[in-house]
């Protein structure tokens, strides 16, 4: 498998910050993977994403040691707009992303920058608006919609660009529960049909683990775990790190040796299946 993202011995220290945000990070992601990044608040998740899309070092100053490559391009040696042709990035705070005078214009903006023909832009804007269920608000200004609606607009704008690498920073944090679930289904579908590589930062793993190939756990600017989600969640020490381990997984750990499960259950239905097997 070709590596679409390669990070080697990477340390980043924001100017003026008391300590480095990332320390000696090594990570490679295969083309077509869906990876989740989890870890406590402030551990460096957003910083890692900013390093992949070039905001670091091009927009944030600080001490930069090591190398970050996407699609074999060295991020520090290419402009943000060049990198943006490969990487679509949904910000943690949607307000940092949407700024045009209407929702519809905002979604079109990124596409215009890609230099797509008008017809194609219209088609994609329409597609993204329906995908995120925001037709009702498409003529409103970004300050005239709720925070969850802003998050949908930000996501729609990035998905419309159909980037080869899709990076989402806590994309469900402001969405209502059913919309969060819909988004995850949508991302999985786009991944399967467009062969995207997807990296998602999330605290709430309950909805997401079932579609991910990989779970990367960070703590204090370092990667402390990096494997198939079920393998990573097997380790009950994760509970003390502050990762959003789903209730079902926590329940399984609580039962310790009192029940034997063949696999680690990730969902209520897996739990019930397994406990029935154990009983028989």
């Amino acid at each position: 498998m070709p590596k679409i993202i390669e990070i080697k011995g990477f340390t980043f220290h924001y100017a003026g910050s008391p300590r480095p945000a990332l320390t000696d990070v090594n990570l490679s992601i295969d083309d077509g993977e869906i990876a989740i990044i989890a870890g406590p608040s402030g551990c460096g998740k957003s910083t890692l994403l900013r390093s992949i899309n070039g905001l670091i070092p091009h927009m944030y100053s600080g001490t930069y040691i090591g190398e970050v490559y996407i699609n074999n391009l060295k991020v520090s040696e290419h402009t943000i707009s060049e990198i943006a042709k490969h990487v679509g990035y949904v910000f943690q705070n949607p307000e940092n992303q949407i700024f045009m005078f209407s929702v519809e214009r905002d979604i079109a903006f990124g596409l215009e920058n890609l230099g797509l023909p008008r017809e194609e832009i219209k088609k994609r804007v329409d597609w993204a608006i329906d995908l995120l269920g925001i037709r009702e608000i498409m003529h409103r200004a970004p300050h005239e919609i709720s925070d969850g609606q802003k998050q949908r607009v930000a996501i729609a704008g990035v998905l419309a660009m159909k980037p080869k690498i899709l990076i989402l920073d806590e994309p469900t944090s402001l969405l209502d529960p059913l919309s969060a679930l819909d988004l995850i289904t949508t991302v999985k579908h786009l991944h399967d049909t467009l062969k995207l590589t997807v990296i998602v930062v999330e605290h709430r793993l309950d909805l997401l683990v079932s579609i991910a190939d990989r779970l990367i756990v960070m703590e204090d600017g370092k990667i402390i775990s990096n494997n198939e989600p079920r393998e990573v969640l097997k380790d009950d020490r994760l509970l003390t790190v502050g990762v959003g381990v789903p209730s079902i997984v926590r329940l399984r750990h609580l039962l310790k040796d009192a029940c034997i499960f063949k696999h680690l259950p990730l969902t209520p239905s897996e739990f019930v299946e397994q406990i029935n097997v154990a009983q028989r």
Partner: protein
Amino acid sequence: MIEFNSVTYIHPAGVKALDDITVKFGQGELVAIVGANGAGKTTLVKHMNGLLKPTKGTVKVFGYDTTQQTVASLSRRVGVVFQNSDHQLFSDTVEHEVEFGLRNFGFSHEVVKQRVDWALRFFGLNEYATTSPMMLSGGEKKRLCLAAVLAWDPDVLVLDEPTVGQDLLNKEKLEQIIRLLLTQGKTVILVSHDIEFLWPMQPRTIVMSRGKIIADKPASKVFTDDSLLAEARLIKPQLVELAQRLNVGDGEVFDNIYTAKKWILDRFRCA
């Protein structure tokens, strides 16, 4: 202590965000407000400290009509932590952010010092005391907003999406402090999409949809009502789904993983 009487609110752009809302919040209550994006939750809570005034109807806070009060005087008793932290933070350093409210409300120099110290420690922000709030991560900003409001000790605490950006340990801490405030007779109102966070606290749950309140009942009744969940774009907490799949008797719920564990060990001979 907070009373909405036939409140309608129409945004300047002409959007009707609240549609004839009548509801009361009493002392010592824990109330969750849930519902789809755009349902009107934030608009509702912005009426609680007078930041928004009703287009029609009245909002009374501790008996006072909010149209007759300043936001500052209402905020002393009703502390609101907003959904978007960037709209709340404006000081040059983290510690000044927490100090600001305290000084404004006239606390003594000694008390200000103590409270700032406590709040920053509690929310794990002490190492950032002299850095700019703008340099914090998203979750850290949220905790700073919580710290700033908790520090002045309002009687009613209104938290709009407090768990955004928070990891499990910080959510547990937040739950602890909410429970502590309730034992002190404070009122806590939570707006949240994070049903896994809300569920173990079993709050009175207000469900909003298109500017109206479509249900107001205990969490155990809301999160087991399939048609209500669908209408409000909610899903079941994992433990509710588990209880249903295990055919746990009517009326019984697993409110946390410990009650679930007990039930399973009583019922199943595993291994």
